[in-house]
Amino acid sequence: MTHVGLEHYLVVSALLFALGLLGVITRRNLLVMYMSLELMLNSANLALVSFSRFNDNLNGQVMVFFIITVAAAEVAVGLALIVALYRKRQSAHVEDLTSMKY
């Protein structure tokens, strides 16, 4: 086995992104879809940190810091939306939520 380099981290990041995408496409539960979305966001973070490390440049890490902050805000707002939606429709299943007006 060779020395672990940038490519190894990028492969892990790509596979994780694909996993998250698979979850968003196949799962129909809104909350699990949201978790898969977080997985995709995290894979992007991993790619940014590894690029930052192997280019000796800290700007990537600053970017990841901002992404984590924005993701925390986004999760709070998204979950509040899901709860509000569940109160109205009694379901967190995307196939029950096809109409725009209720």
């Binding site: 698979l22 978790m35 000796d56 700007n59 810091f65 984590i68 902050t69 707002v77 509040a80 509000a84």
Partner: protein, 169 residues
Amino acid sequence: MGLPDILFYVFAALTLLCGVLVVANPFGRNPITSAMFLVLTIISMAGLFVLLHAFFLAAVQVLVYAGAVMVLFLFVIMLLDLKEEERRKIKLTGLIAGLASVGAIVVIFVRSLLATNPGKGLAEPQKVGDTATLGKILFTNYLLPFEIVSILLLVAMVGVILLSKKDLK
């Protein structure tokens, strides 16, 4: 192969395994198990961050993601009673479409990775990424985005409180 390399393979395998279990859990379709495996994914990813000398980000990852965000997720899962949701089956057409598109994405990733070979021209990384340097950059070059993010958090907080009110007007 030194210890960091072995640790990389351990953490990468753990991350991907737990990621699979988030998306497709063989033990049942309960969202709580998905959330728990997402916590494990995030923690093993923090291990990868440590291997990349991003110590501050590893700590933030565990504190913010595994701590705050996942607690929020678990609260909401337990708030919404999702027992009925577990029984539904995944549609075969959706599964096939999903696998096809994800396979295409993976092929694109691998091909571009092989074509460019991004790690080739790079020297062995120097020791960067300690918290003091990161903080210095954050408070000089990125001061304005930092302040804007704090406003974003305030806006998100107000929005969440408004959304969670009982009578949404």
